[in-house]
Symmetry: C2
Subunit: 329 residues, 2 copies
Amino acid sequence: MAREHSTPTMADVAREAGVALGTVSRVVNGEQVGEEFKARVEAAIERLGYHYNSSGRALRTDRTNTIAFMIPNTINPYFALLVHHINLALEKRGRRMLLYFTGYDHSREIELIRMAQQNRVDGIIALSYNPSLTIPEDVPFVTIDRFFSASVPCIAADNFGGGYLAARKLSEFGCRHLAFLRIGSTLTNEPSKRKDGFVAACVEMGLPFEIMALEDGQPFSEFENFLAGHLHGGRLDFDGLFVGTDSLAWRIIRTLRKMGLRVPEDVQVIGFDGIRMFGDLEPVVSTIQQPVQEIAETCVNTVLSKHLANVPSLICLPVSYLSGGTTRA
Amino acid sequence: MAREHSTPTMADVAREAGVALGTVSRVVNGEQVGEEFKARVEAAIERLGYHYNSSGRALRTDRTNTIAFMIPNTINPYFALLVHHINLALEKRGRRMLLYFTGYDHSREIELIRMAQQNRVDGIIALSYNPSLTIPEDVPFVTIDRFFSASVPCIAADNFGGGYLAARKLSEFGCRHLAFLRIGSTLTNEPSKRKDGFVAACVEMGLPFEIMALEDGQPFSEFENFLAGHLHGGRLDFDGLFVGTDSLAWRIIRTLRKMGLRVPEDVQVIGFDGIRMFGDLEPVVSTIQQPVQEIAETCVNTVLSKHLANVPSLICLPVSYLSGGTTRA
DNA sequence: TTGTATGCGTTATCAG
DNA sequence: CTGATAACGCATACAA
């Protein structure tokens, strides 16, 4: 047959085992097959080093066992963490991950969705703040942190609860004048609820607070100006800061120290995300920790669920406080 | 035809455009087609929202345009960086990335290679120190940092040169007594040449030095004991440390500070990798920076090259020194 | 229970 | 330059 060098196919196995093609397929798929036949097929598979061709299977079944994960990048440690846990959750369910980087590029995201459809992925998990994204109808679609519509399930941390918790904690640790700092998309999304929870707690506790929010393009120096404007005689007006992300918190802390302020002695700082040094060492800052593993597993379970229709359209998962040395606890 | 809900196929497009199936294929693949026909096909594609099915194409052409990348995890920032640049390099070449985590598990790695073959990937890029890994013959295979055999191209940073550079830099910054600290696989691999380069430079400069190398399972406390044993009257025997990775360097620095030593005033420290805070801010420690982007692009170019046979079996890419505040420069 | 035969969507070969 | 048709490897409905 001259098919020596090519990888063996089911037909080859069938010939080798002296059975029919269909029987091989049944053995490979773990269906009921007579002992004798099964043994012969398995021996032939072993002998030939056969492994099934997933293109053929995909074409026939119209299922690729592959999920696309769209994320801005993998350099941001929080995104890297998500990739990690989503991949693990997918493997647990016998699925593969096709990884797409959006680079925060809106037109690219649209193109990537098209590519994912070409690849006939069984579902898409996306983290995108793209306001003009149209979600395809014909493929299960789940988003992280961004609510699109009731028909597109959104998985997120309890951002409101996190903001609330942060304010509570700062108060508990003795802070009397708080501020919330953030930079990000102007789009209303789940993370923007961090502020709302923070405000709710401050109001509830009767604590004075201020909000300083930058839009995506604005320079970091705006924060420096803001803080400098609140520095009087070497003392800052605030003794507790809640910052939108750990990444920003880190930069803010550097700025504070450059201004001669001590953290946490003079100002306590809580970030958001739960980033750890080198991924597994101590937290970078005191923080509200996202339940990344639960988020990942929920995404996977949701995107793979048979009936996307009767799945909740917004799932918020509980956060927790994690001390990282930038608070007095 | 009752194929309403299903995604359209080339046959549908052909019918819609009133041309033959083959003509549609030619248009989709950008082959020579008459103006009139081409226009009609493109219109039909637009009208139907057709996009090609890559399973069908893969089955037919035996090429998936997919490369598997095997890496321990994505939590380690260096690995995350690699994932990022390899994905970008693949996209530039029109390929997709299938991401597999090994978790440093040897048997898992073997299983993953099998899975990659099932998925008929066009190639595999792997970062693995598995000593018992057998590389498949029938799929292009490229490794990072680990040389298997002359027939398996290995891409790595110039680890020897990096070690050499580190010792040179420490000397240049005034160090007179150096030490090299490392933990890792006992297997001889590219990163283990960091020590060799370091030693070569020390010998060349006539500087005294010591080596402290732990194997993978050993506890970090061994380093603490080592350092404590070299502390006399509040002074450390060494004024310059070269540490195998930034991650370890970070932990070592914490230990030094706990011992009452100042970095870089009393001891200067250089790590290896080039990890930055949150992926894009300042370096975590002074370090020998890996050329991650070049490594990634070289991996991709190599694994996609037509004739793997006449590709060099070991490619070392130049490193550079990067100051991160733990040296006096 | 096992064998046979068809078609999934595509590309490539061959006639026209 | 275009149309028809045969594989690619597999799962599955149907026949034995």
